[in-house]
């Protein structure tokens, strides 16, 4: 005998819109990206420049919604 299934209530249906928490996470990614770019501009050593660029890549890929 199949059990009765009662849908949950109380959480907003997301549909096509982005949930608030996702928007906040994208904002965090943008914030960290800006910090990395500022540090990249301030840095005077090429090793640090390379490190900042490498760390920045996954943040930009997510911001651009590529990965």
């Amino acid at each position: 005998m199949a059990r009765a299934f009662r849908p949950a209530v109380g959480r907003m249906a997301e549909r096509h819109s982005m949930p608030v928490v996702t928007v906040l996470y994208y904002a965090l990614v943008a914030f960290v990206s800006v910090i990395l770019i500022v540090n990249l501009l301030k840095s005077r050593k090429w090793e640090r420049d390379a490190l900042y660029v490498l760390v920045l890549l996954p943040f930009l890929l997510r911001l651009l919604r590529l990965k």
Binding site: A2, R3, F5, R6, P7, A8, V9, G10, R11, M12, A13, E14, R15, H16, V21, T22, Y25, L40, L41, R44, W46, D49, A50, V53, L54, L56, L57, L60, L61, R62, L64, R65, L66, K67
Partner: protein
């Protein structure tokens, strides 16, 4: 900023932009790779999941649903491929069904991309190939590699701990994006939960009698080469596994779905609908943690010396040798098991049979190859849809 410092930054940032552009282009194109499906003679209608749950319309998981109505009434079987897209045998079986199967009695409902979003990304840090191809007599077909979980571009972030609905069972955080951990779904939940909810609606509205979820497993996982069944399907699954082992030359076992392990299709579909729920597992060395190179060749041949070595140390739950586990063997196991489920069901329900023809069995797939059953989209004008 000195001239030398500026030049240094321009070079490094230029290299970074080149990396971003090349990797970004690869991710973009593999996410949008079109997978053609040549509608076979048995396909009578194609709907989408949003027909059963409107909020999914336009989302990544508004997948195609293929209906193959029989000439005579009978049982309805739902076959789910692509719950875990990085287990390609399951998806390829559903392609073979959509392009070849003819139903004489009853009805077949086939899904090629159960978690369509998960077909559009690969595992982070897993070095997966973005796609793989199956050779045919007329060329080749390329499929998205996919992953186990919904693409984070479609559902993000994950919680610290995932609480399954409605049981409240705690699961790994990432499994909130695993469609085979969120059954029976939630109407107002995440995209993955809504996807499972949409399928539950389909199962209830279309009065599905048998639901089959096609999977593959690493050889280090104990639930392998088997049919996992809800308790209401135990007789059917046991008879099927005995018949296949006796008649078709490959061993397949039966596992009973634990009553307190929630979120999986073999448990929740059986609990929350009248359908019998079964899940098939075939061996896929590509998924093993001890694998060597994670390549397209390894995916399709199942050959891996490191997994063989693990077997020599007694670390596996399935045998493996230098012949590996070719994709044709894995697909053939699933097609034979599906056909045997239909036959065995019919013996128990003579007034409500499911008779499927034009689908190859285990030996046919091994002899002719998977590509033999994939048809040329260029010669099927008006009969091609895309996944």
């Amino acid at each position: 900023m000195t001239g030398r410092l500026l030049a240094q930054k321009i070079v490094i940032v230029g290299l970074g932009i080149a990396l971003l552009a090349t990797s970004g282009a690869s991710f973009y194109s593999s996410r949008r790779l079109k997978e053609p499906v040549v509608l076979g003679p048995g396909v009578t209608a194609v709907k989408t999941l949003a027909n059963y749950f409107e909020p999914l319309r336009g989302t990544a998981n508004d997948c195609n649903i293929y209906f193959l109505d029989g000439k005579e009434p009978g049982a309805t079987m739902l076959v789910l491929g692509g719950s875990h897209p990085e287990e390609p045998a399951g998806r390829l079986v559903t392609w073979i069904l959509a392009e070849n199967a003819v139903v004489q009695k009853g009805r077949l409902i086939v899904v090629l991309s159960t978690n369509r979003s998960a077909t559009t990304s690969t595992r982070l840090g897993g070095a997966y190939p973005p796609d793989f191809s199956i050779d045919t007599a007329w060329g080749s077909r390329t499929f998205r590699m996919g992953d186990r979980w919904t693409n984070p571009l479609d559902q993000w972030p994950d919680p610290e701990v995932y609480f399954h609905y409605p049981s409240g069972q705690q699961l790994a955080y990432v499994d909130i994006r695993n469609v085979n951990r969120v059954w029976p779904g939630r109407m107002n939940g995440t995209l993955t939960e809504q996807t499972a909810y949409g399928f539950m609606e389909l199962i209830r509205r279309e009065k599905v009698d048998i639901e089959v979820d096609l999977h593959e497993a690493e050889l280090q996982y104990p639930v392998i080469s088997t049919i996992v069944t809800h308790q209401r399907g135990q007789d059917l699954a046991t008879l099927v596994s005995m018949t296949l082992t006796d008649m078709e030359g490959f061993k397949i076992g039966t596992e009973f779905s634990p009553r307190t392990l929630h979120g999986l299709s073999h448990r929740e579909v059986g609990d929350f609908s009248p359908a019998l729920s079964l899940l098939f597992e075939s061996p896929e060395p590509f998924l093993d943690a001890t694998r060597g190179i994670t390549s397209r060749e390894q995916l399709l041949t199942g050959k891996d010396e490191f997994v063989v070595k693990a077997g020599q140390h007694g670390l596996l739950f399935e045998r493996i040798d230098e012949k590996g586990w070719p994709i044709a063997v894995r697909v053939g196991r699933h097609t034979s098991a599906l056909l045997q489920v239909a036959e065995t069901w019919g013996e128990d329900h003579p007034g409500k049979r499911l008779v499927i023809t034009e689908v190859p069995r285990y030996k046919d797939v091994i002899e002719k190859g998977v590509g033999y059953y994939l048809h040329d989209p260029a010669k099927a004008a008006g009969r091609v849809v895309y996944e």
